[in-house]
């Protein structure tokens, strides 16, 4: 089987796999946020940036090829990841101490892995709405990192088009395809894959917060690099 290397470690791959897919199959962790193995990759968050033969590219879209030398956890790449993560934190309201997703949050866990301890950039404290119109779900848009996983899950798995990103740059935001923009009046159903794919704390089942005790939450039991299935 053909192979390439990540941080000098040989990685075998199947034809058609990306660097991230091959790394995941080999149990090698490349930090990432907007990629999910169930959906098509689009390389938007840039957290999975690696250096391939001296050139930076997103590991979730770059095809694996024999003989590539890939740098993953070097100090400068980790520093770049911290910059990206920091921007995500300050552009939303990620108040981990009171967030029920804390301990099971992909963003929080990636930040811990990348050793992002505090933000130097000014917090933006965006004023976005909380949509509690649905009887069983609350959407807290202040935490959205625009990864589009719910958008893809709704389209690619649920066969609907409930979610979409609108606006550009700093004004980008998640919107709901409903006449009044409210979840309750969309095609959303609690059983949708879109409801369970959010890597942060936007999608919250109502009345259930903090039911999992500290110590038993997803990333209390295993750190993110030890979890291969998502």
């Amino acid at each position: 089987m053909a192979s390439f290397s990540i941080d000098q470690q040989p990685i075998e791959f199947e034809p058609g796999q990306t660097i991230l897919q091959a790394a995941m199959a080999a149990g090698v962790y490349i930090p990432h946020l907007c990629f999910h193995p169930q959906f098509s990759a689009h390389g938007s968050c840039r957290v999975c940036m690696v250096r391939i033969d001296g050139r930076t590219a997103s590991a979730c879209t770059a095809p694996a090829a024999a003989g590539l030398e890939v740098e993953n956890l070097s100090d400068d790449l980790q520093a770049l990841r911290r910059d990206i993560l920091q921007m995500l934190f300050v552009e939303g309201n990620h108040l981990c101490p009171s967030c029920e997703q804390s301990g099971a949050c992909h963003l929080q866990s990636v930040a811990e892995f990348c050793e992002l301890l505090m933000a130097d950039l000014p917090f933006q404290y965006p004023r976005r709405m909380v949509d509690a119109s649905h009887p069983d779900w609350v959407l807290d848009f202040t935490r959205c990192i625009h990864c589009e996983l719910c958008v893809k899950a709704s389209r690619e798995v649920d066969g609907k088009s409930v979610f979409s990103l609108t606006g550009r740059g700093f004004d980008t935001r998640l919107v709901i395809n409903a006449p009044d923009g409210l979840l309750v009046n969309s095609e959303f159903a609690s059983t949708d894959r879109a409801a369970s794919v959010c890597p942060v704390g936007v999608f919250l089942p109502k009345h259930q917060g903090f039911k999992t005790p500290i110590g038993q939450r997803k990333y209390d039991r295993h750190s993110i690099e030890q979890i291969t299935e998502e």
């Binding site: 101490p97 109502k206 903090f210």
Partner: protein
């Protein structure tokens, strides 16, 4: 008229300023204790899902977060239509709260107040602190540290973290105790009860050794408010409201916490971020009162656990006429009786098999209003929330322990200044005494306004014309 301002105050969390006003006869006519910061939890939780509240609002305080956590959780029980949570949940919560009060009282007494009581308020600042206690009374300091550590361990096991955990959720708790966790707490509990008993003895000796001074220092005659349990028992987690007047006569009793707005109102002064609660029937001028250990031990008819009850009777015998003990420094004595009560109660609870039970939550029909009242270490704590049909908080009213004692702290400060200020010059010993008075009530004023960080103190003395005559500062950590 002369006005004195003290800024900052040490070994008290927050940033305090005291302004004293004198008249032409150099009598103190007014004392205003101000906390400079404002945090506004009631406002910024509006629009948040209700189930976040117990975890969010506990950030009001780093010393007694569990009390806020549980008061909010009790209010959330009502929101989810649960009047009685399962026995396992209630006992886990009670255990958590006994751990909270135990650790907070240990911190308050040993770390923050014992230097004043053991060395005297005129002792050198560099020596009058917990390090001084460790050097001069190593065994006592060790016991204090370990008592606090035990309380924090109870909190960690029941809520997941020593500070700011997540144990209580609407309708119950998110975990029970495992056999291993129960056994680990049982291992040291006899020692904890012994140390707690010794600490009451120590405080009793300190109080009686300087009885005259202790009885008069910062002392004011006030009404007292607290929860009481069944039959008038000392109660920290759940009960009904009782208020007694300066002579110990009942003003009201067995009042449901849900009716607190009929009993208490809050007065606002333009010079303070803290409000001034008062008993409605008596009005602003006459209706202010005290809460906390002194109020609870005075108000209750008995304590359920034998050792603490024995100590309560000795405490009460200080007042031969049966009236309440009004000495402000007796707050510390009452505090340690409660510490003993918590230790004994934890020992008793750990033998209860319900702690290991599996029924953790109950669920009912959603309601739109929830009121949770609890006895936090420093006094009665009210959490009142209202939500909309979608479960988002529309209104919150939090009356915290320190706020209840606001007027009383001002009066105690005035009493100290009146007794100890001579002339128009602020002195170091006076400043120390003012801090000792504040600390009897509270080492942590952050919840009331709600300040962050250590608390420096500034004292200003103003004359009859409002002109600054003297100013004294004390930096944080001194």
């Amino acid at each position: 008229m002369i006005k004195i301002t003290i800024d900052p105050v040490s070994r008290v969390e927050g940033h305090g300023k005291i302004t004293l006003q004198q008249n032409e006869q150099l009598e103190i006519t007014q004392a205003r204790f101000q906390i400079a910061e404002f945090r506004g939890f009631e406002k910024f939780i509006q629009g948040r899902p209700y189930w976040e509240a117990p975890v969010l609002v506990q950030r009001l305080c780093g010393i007694c977060p569990v009390s806020h956590h549980l008061a909010a959780a009790k209010a959330m029980d009502q929101l989810v239509g649960v009047d009685q949570i399962p026995p396992t949940a209630e006992k886990i919560r009670r255990l958590m709260h006994f751990g909270q009060v135990l650790q907070s009282h240990a911190l308050h007494f040993f770390h923050l107040s014992s230097p004043d009581l053991l060395f005297g308020y005129d002792d050198e600042v560099r020596h009058r602190n917990i390090v001084g206690v460790i050097n001069d009374y190593p065994e006592l300091a060790r016991q204090g540290v370990l008592l606090r550590k035990y309380g924090q361990e109870v909190i960690r096991i029941t809520s997941g973290k020593r500070v700011h955990g997540t144990g209580a959720i609407p309708g119950g708790v998110n975990k029970n105790l495992s056999v291993a966790e129960r056994n680990s707490l049982q291992q040291d509990i006899d020692q904890i009860v012994d140390w707690a008993e010794s600490s009451v003895e120590l405080m009793k000796q300190i109080f009686l050794h300087q009885a005259e001074w202790q009885k008069n220092f910062a002392t004011i005659d006030t009404h007292m408010l607290s929860l009481t349990g069944q039959g008038g028992a000392l109660e920290l987690y759940d009960g009904t409201l009782r208020a007694c007047d300066r002579d110990g006569k009942v003003i009201f009793d067995q009042q449901s916490c849900d009716d607190y707005l009929d009993l208490i109102n809050e007065h606002i002064e333009s010079w303070s971020y803290m409000k001034f609660p008062f008993l409605k029937t008596l009005g602003v001028e006459q209706g202010w009162y005290r809460v906390g250990p002194l109020a609870r031990i005075n108000n209750c008819d008995f304590i359920r656990t034998p050792l603490a009850e024995q100590q309560r009777q000795i405490f009460k015998s200080q007042q031969s006429d049966g009236k309440p003990v009004q000495a402000t420094l007796a707050y510390h004595w009452a505090r340690l009786i409660e510490l003993l009560y918590c230790a004994e109660s934890i020992r008793e609870l750990l033998d209860d098999g319900d702690l290991l039970g599996d029924e953790l939550t109950a669920q009912g029909e959603m309601r739109l209003k929830g009121i949770g009242v609890i006895e936090a270490p420093r006094g009665t704590l009210f959490h009142h929330y209202e939500v909309d049909e979608q479960g988002l908080i529309t209104r919150a009213n939090l009356i915290v322990s320190t706020t209840h004692n606001n007027q009383a702290m001002n009066e105690s400060i005035r009493r100290v200044a009146q007794d100890s200020l001579s002339g128009q010059e602020l002195t170091e010993p006076l400043l120390n005494q003012l801090e000792v008075a504040i600390r009897a009530y509270d080492p942590c004023l952050s919840c009331a306004t709600h300040a962050l960080g250590q608390m420096p103190l500034q004292v200003d003395l103003l004359d009859a014309a409002g002109k600054l005559q003297s100013r004294k500062y004390k930096q944080a950590g001194n």
